[in-house]
Symmetry: C2
Subunit: 554 residues, 2 copies
């Protein structure tokens, strides 16, 4: 039995016996004994007082994965040479799940959306080699859920036997960072609810705990907001391309029982062109031409941030949206505010003159009013980095900033004392490298070329250039999909398995051995495909079966 | 009624009335009259003597598309404002199909695989505006099939009505180039037969007439070859990841009835590492390390081209494979021959010394013998450009060369007098820009960055830098998918709608207006999705509904 912490170099030499968990646990020891999983494995919740329904459902899903994954070992013979060891191996017949501590048992869904700094996601998992009961222990149902997720990744299939040849396992695990996210833009192109559910499933398999839902933008307004139904009626691409209140409720629950909080974003004051359809009075530079003067991408249009009526409208809208999402977090966006839009807008100029303010002062008022409305209902505001770095607006100290323009800006954000989430385009933007999407531009490629490989994301250091004090402000990070050239057709494969890279960086900590990670990531990608998520092959299968053989200097 | 040839600039200004055909016909005139398609449209083959079964099947598929596509017009209201015009429009109740000429009627499948210079793909299609019968006329069943394909793209759906508002149509069409292909690599990763069929369907919808099937390579040997069954038994990734003789027969037929010839490639003497599993005696530098010295990608391994036994083995193998594919074309590959592999191979060095030959002389013998074996059974050999440009080998004059390293090399190939197929990596490689796939290389991106956008492919000029005599040697061209990072998960969306770009360049001729093309390409992509091919959205839907609005200077 070998004992080691994350990322020992010699993992590479274990060959077929590399543990294929993703993200890698904080501590894991494995053995070399074969163990089979009984077809009628009992996952007992006797050790959980008042086991909640969502934990029981998680157990049922785990049993389903164990039965259906049928993933073969990624070695040239797919495990055939292990046949006799497997067929003569002891049978594991039960996994005993225990919730420790004295707190009343809460559902996973409740723990998953609690204040992020209070969540407990750790667990301990032991799988003996002799067939005696395995044990899973945690201080929270959320932790138990993470442990079940790990348990489901330990096993392979050979001719119908579900087995491992690395028993016993002793795993002690907890995340390094509290925020591990994935951002999806559903405005440029619409994604049906089924696609979001499948994405939430996939996220949960790599222990991502936040869906940052960039739900509306200038292109379309798919969200049905109570009291603001006209926005989606006029602003959705069509009547079917909406998220109803019932859809949102269902998705919030679907996410929460999978350990995922939904951080919704209503981007303001920019990225709001679509609101013009219902409220022309609130939008400046609507579809103004040339768009390159008024926006980073077409169509142009921004909230008339100086107008009191527009500020009130925005605060009411944000408040109503916030009521749909129980998360503590709410993002008001704040990126890419275009100054020309307001300079050329007579209404805004008149308003500024009337109030005796300049644009930045008006933005400050806009931000304070809209943020206060959210804070009054218990929300922690989240903004893109420009609101901290580029505009002299007053932000509450607990406002969280997302660093996107460049990872180098994390330091400046931290120096302002704000907690931050890494979402840097130079590491984490999944759309980069896919070619330019602007029309009539033969040689155009994406603004953030090149393609951000999983290796690039995986190489990220969350505390680079940060002092220890600044480093403590890092909540975590995420990969992001802007959907200019994405839709249901390519969602799975533009995201997976790449987005697992940040999931591991922010769970296991940075500095992982990319070489050893690759074979685990292959394993994950093939397992995703087995579970109905269309992850791409990262290499020829020949390479996937031969760890290291396709490395640069092999 | 407007009459115009391909790519008139004013197409752009027709707004919702742009004809969304892809590829654009040679000549088309359209009107502004609304016309509905009767739900029981009769497609009559009375004008075809002895109408073959595959033509009847093509008619049935056409009727299916007309019923099921239900594609809405790509305008902001999706055609709603046309409602009263549509509901009061005359009904088109029949399409009369006529085969002209005095030749006996042949099945599509027979015409599709005939010698490429003899094929007739042209047709004439007239759709009157008053509901009187439409007519489709051609001199071949293959031409009739192309016309049916066009007919199926004329229609939109509004509330269950299938309609156009551009009747009457008068279309006279024929391709500019005889070869319009798509290449798929099924060795790096395996694609099930169902994926190939779906791809053949999609190809036929844009009148691509050749699948260049790069069926085997160093990574795996999925083809079951009569008399050489051990190659796939030992060289396929697994027993299920093979193309059986029955699969190939089925695919050849599936392609042919859709107007598609299958040009199979067995790459030699490089890209053959996998043959070592069955025949170590024929492979030099097998999986030699470092692979960077011996191959452009792992694993290394090349046929011992100097050995008479290896030459005979290769000739027999190619002959047997050729027997599976009725196409006149057969590619022996010939790219990326690595010299170090042979320099460091004692067996090859000994053989060369014994024969008193240098490596190029041995390659000449190898090529002459293997090509003669194919020519003796009626095949026209196809090679990658190096066999023409980089090696002093004797090739028959009718050997066709595929230009891949750079489009600039077409001129040199043409100057050697060889017919050529454009397959240039700088325009047509679909895998570029997807990030490097070699392991442990954090900053590695694809060797052929950047991503080749559809615009780039569409901008291609097949006769650039060629004299009129040289230009006549251009058979056509194709886009290509090397599958290092592709599999069933992303096949559709890495290929479509991009690969339609070359389909139009080589059918309609180059120089198309990219701006006008974009809205037609959107239409095609959405139609593909309706038909079950997961094409990506090329832009936000907002842009797709507003032609030109997302252009660079809009």
């Amino acid at each position: 039995m070998r004992s080691f912490s994350v990322f020992p170099a010699f993992l590479l030499f274990l060959g077929p016996c590399v543990v294929a968990l993703w993200p890698l646990p904080t501590q894991i020891s494995t053995g070399t004994t074969a163990l089979r999983l009984s077809a009628d494995l009992q996952i007992s919740l006797d050790g959980v007082r008042n086991a909640p329904a969502d934990l029981r459902d998680a157990v049922a899903r785990t049993r389903d994965f164990l039965r259906r994954d049928k993933l073969q070992l990624l070695v040239p013979d797919r495990g055939a040479s292990l046949k006799s060891r497997i067929t003569s191996a002891p049978l594991l017949r039960s996994l005993r799940v225990t919730l420790t501590g004295t707190e009343p048992t809460r559902p996973i869904a409740e723990e998953a959306i609690a204040a992020i700094e209070t969540r407990q996601e750790g667990y301990t998992l032991n799988v003996p080699a002799d067939g005696s009961a395995a044990t899973l222990t945690a201080t929270s149902t959320l932790g138990l859920f993470r442990g079940l997720t790990t348990f489901s990744q330990l096993w392979y299939d050979l001719d119908g036997d579900t087995y491992t040849v690395q028993a016993p396992f002793a795993i002690t695990d907890a995340p390094k960072y509290v925020y591990r996210g994935f951002m999806l833009d559903t405005s440029r192109n619409y994604f049906p609810v089924a696609d979001l559910k499948r994405t939430l499933d996939a996220m949960s398999w790599v222990k991502i705990n936040t869906l940052h839902w960039h739900i509306v933008d200038s292109h379309s307004f798919p969200l049905v907001v109570p009291g603001f139904e006209h926005l989606s009626r006029l602003g959705a691409y069509n009547a079917a391309s909406v998220y109803t209140v019932a859809d949102v409720r269902e998705l919030v629950q679907y996410a929460a029982v999978r350990g995922i909080d939904i951080l919704v974003e209503v981007d303001t004051p920019g990225h709001t062109s679509v609101l013009h359809k219902a409220h022309p009075e609130h939008i400046a530079c609507f579809e103004a031409s040339p768009w390159t003067r008024y926006a980073n991408e077409p169509p142009a249009g921004q909230l008339r941030l100086a107008a009191p009526a527009t500020i009130n409208f925005t605060a009411s809208l944000l408040t109503s949206v916030a009521g749909l999402f129980p998360s503590k977090f709410f993002s008001t966006g704040g990126d890419e505010i275009n100054v020309n839009c307001y300079q050329d807008d007579p209404a805004t100029q008149a308003e500024l003159q009337k109030q005796g303010k300049n644009l930045e002062q008006a933005l400050d008022t806009f931000t304070q009013v809209t943020h206060k409305a959210l804070q009054d209902i218990g929300k922690t505001t989240v903004v893109w980095e420009e609101m901290v770095l580029n505009h002299p607006v007053t932000l509450s100290n607990n406002t969280v900033a997302m660093v996107w323009i460049s990872s180098a800006n994390a330091q400046a954000v931290a120096r302002r004392g704000h907690r931050l989430i890494h979402a840097a385009s130079d590491f984490f933007y999944l759309d980069c490298g896919g070619g330019g999407w602007v029309g009539n531009h033969v040689t155009g490629n994406s603004w953030c070329d090149p393609f951000k490989t999983w290796q690039k994301a995986y190489s990220f250091n969350p505390t680079a250039n940060l002092s220890p004090t600044e480093a403590r402000l890092v909540l975590g990070g995420q990969q992001l999909l802007w959907a200019e050239q994405s839709g249901p057709s390519n969602l799975d494969n533009i995201v997976w398995p790449r987005a697992a890279a940040s999931a591991e960086v922010f769970w296991s900590g940075p500095g992982g051995d990319g070489q050893a990670a690759l074979s685990r990531l292959h394993d994950l990608a093939y397992r995703f495909v087995k579970r109905g998520v269309r992850a791409i092959p990262l290499q020829p299968e020949w390479c996937a079966l031969r760890p290291g053989a396709c490395d640069l200097n092999a």
